[in-house]
Symmetry: D2
Subunit: 344 residues, 4 copies
Amino acid sequence: MVIVMSSPTKPEDLERIVQLAHQRNLQTHISHGEERTIVGLIGGDVRELDTATLGRLPGVERVVRILQPFKLASRAHQPDGGQVTIGCHPSSRRVTIGHTKLAIIAGPCSVEGREMTMQTAQAVREHGGHGLRGGAFKPRTSPYSFQGLGRQGLEYLAEARQATGLPVVTEVPAPEQVGLLCEYADVLQIGARNMQNYPLLQEVGRTDRPVLLKRGMSASVEEWLMAAEYVLSQGNNRVILCERGIRTFETSTRNTLDLSAVAVVKQQSHLPVLVDPSHGTGYADLVPSMSLAAIAAGADGLLLEVHPDPPSALCDGGQSLSFAGYAQLTAGLQAVAAAVGREM
Amino acid sequence: MVIVMSSPTKPEDLERIVQLAHQRNLQTHISHGEERTIVGLIGGDVRELDTATLGRLPGVERVVRILQPFKLASRAHQPDGGQVTIGCHPSSRRVTIGHTKLAIIAGPCSVEGREMTMQTAQAVREHGGHGLRGGAFKPRTSPYSFQGLGRQGLEYLAEARQATGLPVVTEVPAPEQVGLLCEYADVLQIGARNMQNYPLLQEVGRTDRPVLLKRGMSASVEEWLMAAEYVLSQGNNRVILCERGIRTFETSTRNTLDLSAVAVVKQQSHLPVLVDPSHGTGYADLVPSMSLAAIAAGADGLLLEVHPDPPSALCDGGQSLSFAGYAQLTAGLQAVAAAVGREM
Amino acid sequence: MVIVMSSPTKPEDLERIVQLAHQRNLQTHISHGEERTIVGLIGGDVRELDTATLGRLPGVERVVRILQPFKLASRAHQPDGGQVTIGCHPSSRRVTIGHTKLAIIAGPCSVEGREMTMQTAQAVREHGGHGLRGGAFKPRTSPYSFQGLGRQGLEYLAEARQATGLPVVTEVPAPEQVGLLCEYADVLQIGARNMQNYPLLQEVGRTDRPVLLKRGMSASVEEWLMAAEYVLSQGNNRVILCERGIRTFETSTRNTLDLSAVAVVKQQSHLPVLVDPSHGTGYADLVPSMSLAAIAAGADGLLLEVHPDPPSALCDGGQSLSFAGYAQLTAGLQAVAAAVGREM
Amino acid sequence: MVIVMSSPTKPEDLERIVQLAHQRNLQTHISHGEERTIVGLIGGDVRELDTATLGRLPGVERVVRILQPFKLASRAHQPDGGQVTIGCHPSSRRVTIGHTKLAIIAGPCSVEGREMTMQTAQAVREHGGHGLRGGAFKPRTSPYSFQGLGRQGLEYLAEARQATGLPVVTEVPAPEQVGLLCEYADVLQIGARNMQNYPLLQEVGRTDRPVLLKRGMSASVEEWLMAAEYVLSQGNNRVILCERGIRTFETSTRNTLDLSAVAVVKQQSHLPVLVDPSHGTGYADLVPSMSLAAIAAGADGLLLEVHPDPPSALCDGGQSLSFAGYAQLTAGLQAVAAAVGREM
């Protein structure tokens, strides 16, 4: 932590910083420049200091954090990169994410019924998919929109898993549903709107179930990794990240898919990272090119929306692929995967 | 709802739209322009249609929503503007928000102890405040930061209310805490990170307690009003909005306080709206000018962070006013309030 | 400048930094922390170092700038705050901006004809205005939109000045028009789209004419002050800033008016600052409340769009006030101005 | 154009719209819904109507544009997609952009001297490059930074072209330099900060030289295509687009590279589009993965910064590739290009 003092620096202000540092068992390193005096704080756990509060001390112009605020999520914690294996239910196949082999997790935005779930799972399985996604509890912007089938939807997903062996990835809406979701899901998905729902992060952190953590739509990469830290710090080290687009001024896409975040995460963290080009763009027509781009950028796999009849979907049909579109996409991915040293 | 067809329009695509509309009891109004054919959908509840899904139908270029998606939160629902009275606990004074009289709700970011809570409440009361804010459960970006005193913090707030008569505004972190919070709080605050935590919105919507709904940091005004609609649609019509800054590219402030949102809300909704310049700017030095600006912009009051000793605060001290700063601010507000026809 | 070295730090990488610093006559100050080694660079003109390039040196993790990159625009350069007097043409009244007295500069978005210009100038003058704004050269998003009357428009503005004494503020579109504009204008306006048009900034910097520098729609406050520095560094110290809204995700307003930028500029710079709520919101209905808020926030005046018949305006009529609306606004401003210790 | 009337609709307001439309030779199509009346405007050139001004008419709630505002830049104007051939100087090779074959245009951010320019051009040529980029006039955020060698820099570029046959791409800073630049450059680059510098766009539009139009850092895809329309509407149809990152809240990269914009441009326009991952990310380490992603997303080529010794670069060294890094990148691109049906 570096504290930049206002100019001119008053001795008593400098003294206060030094005392405060010593109270917290930090060493200080003072450097007098021509225009500014700066104080380095070293040792102890400087990560626990609140930069905003230090910035409010008399005579302080600015406080600069030197260390990343996350530890368990950092690359330094696991320099070789990590892998997360999903598929804990007896009927699930095991799939390792963060490996040479890419993971394709696909399915409907929301589970609308038994038939469509089974059909979709079979199509996903047949055309190279490794996991089944589908929402039973759907957070919707409007209280008047379809909110999901709840437990009935989970039953359909379990049945589809039984038939196909695909591990199930589904969203957990609130802390009190974590227990229920653990009965059914192979992977607990934290939606973008819940990325900073800390009670929920802690609750899933207390399970042993893999957690798919979507990036919040206005979360920086640092905040996203801090959200992962919440899960990791509870003892659950099976976190998979998922980039799904950030909110910007651009309106020609629903969100702006931030593929450079994939490369940044690979530098800063050991956690595997997927990309969701369906939410990331909001338009099925853009999903194939963004899927190829995501794999080329280094993503460990994709989260895709697939629906038997997109125009009739009860939720986000505009961004769902048809079975034919999905099959064509996964076929096209093979060559790009191979070109970057990955397999399907 | 207006559907813009691709050019050239195929008769079968147009026909499909018309049939689909009739299945949902909507009338269609087709207009053939020189470059595009457009279809207006009228009647029924067009608000329930998903624009993204319609946009995926073959031959559709774009779908344009004509009506605002919210109903209960709309100005049309209550054209004269609404008021929300807070202070249900026996020891609380009643305060009406959305009235000529402005509401000043102030207190520490987090309740750190008994003494500081009592002192702050007295200072708030003495210098023109009408409510006491303070967090017992603190959502923090880092799992290693102070997370609040929990129930003990609520006890201190209740004791401060007993002594000062100030109604207590405090954040509810998760659906399962709503019951506990209702025992202690006069107003249930929904934090910015939880603005789209729908299970939580529904849970507070099922109480009769006033809800202070902070704007999410990347939420549009429309999404904010839709979040209010979640609460209202459960039967709780005592929603107070609070603008607290949005996330932009600018880094000289913590957030960008969007005061024009106050004016937009006043046009589109009947809900009262407060402004939180402490979170909105992140710097105590900017709070006084932004407080004056907020009142001049038409806000119904302020949510302010005040602390006995800001540099020693355990949370967000950088944006907290000292007692002296707070007293000076409220004194200065009088003249601006009067200038725009309001009182303190 | 602080250089954070990667961990572990190689001695040769540290040595390279030290040598490079000494070549540029900078002192180094090395601090070995538990997790990172940091190097402070002191003296010489560290402002000229390129942080991105230093960040590319082997073994460097990150580079942090300590000093603000601007000098002449900084508050430290002129701690008491500056004033700029406009009105150099013989027929102009002198108006000082950055003074207790607020400056109201109003007029049509574009000069559409002689009659409307004269009428508008008279209305502006009659209801408290101090300057006349109007575009003769209009930058428009579409090449098919009205682009302004050019020199003819300047003639009309000059005639209106002759009749009313109002100094003329008008936009200069390109370096080669600076000479022409100096013949007619009291103040050279740099539009938001040209805020980083450096040849243009340098050209107006070589004149002695006051420059109204609008903030670019995605410019940080720091970049805005650096743009001012371009003008100031050419010897022209008569720069007036103008906040006009920034681009964000919010679509209920045309831009997001960033009033906290006014307070930040007042802290960091001595330059006077106006606010343009017409462009800042894009809707005439929002202009009155945002005008009051701007003055309450500490702005030195306003830039307003006024038109004899807004719905018939050739450009941006949606954000222009009618004469009646303008008169009502300036009347209402009096009380707020007085409340914050300013006069009209 | 669709005009949504306020509710309830007054007959005189509706009548005014109809009359105004007829004056402009537009037909009207009125549709009375249950909650709103809407008016469709058809025919004539509705593109020339100003939506903001119409929105200000009494009784109008909102105006919705149905047609894209650009014509010459639209896909409809040239449904098969366009190509632009560069290399007009006698010593240049011809390169077609927008073809199966990808275009790699590389070189230093700024031309710093003869030697480094020649070396870089040779490295670019040797490792698969098709064009040489380099700035002679450098727009820099700080007036104290290196601003380029000017005409001397152009001479070095010409000499490097002579030696390698690589067409030269260089930035034109202002309208009055267009003549000079045409003497030296094969392609006139419009920098991001100048994307809405309309006098400059018109001036390059009056030449027959290919124009590389970088996206403004806060420009929507629509505004970018409107900027292209400015060039095209002057008669120069040789416009090449270049995505270079947009400004968002994310700070781990310099800009957010918006690769979905490539796919959107391919849908909406016939213009070829390159990607600049050097400016787009700001970090050389991120350039390789983003280059692969750009090609996978459908870009027609890349604009890369390459420097003989990045840490010593006078400008943006942090984002420049070394020769070795560049060679490795172009080698790696081959497989991805082939995977998406392109060649190097």
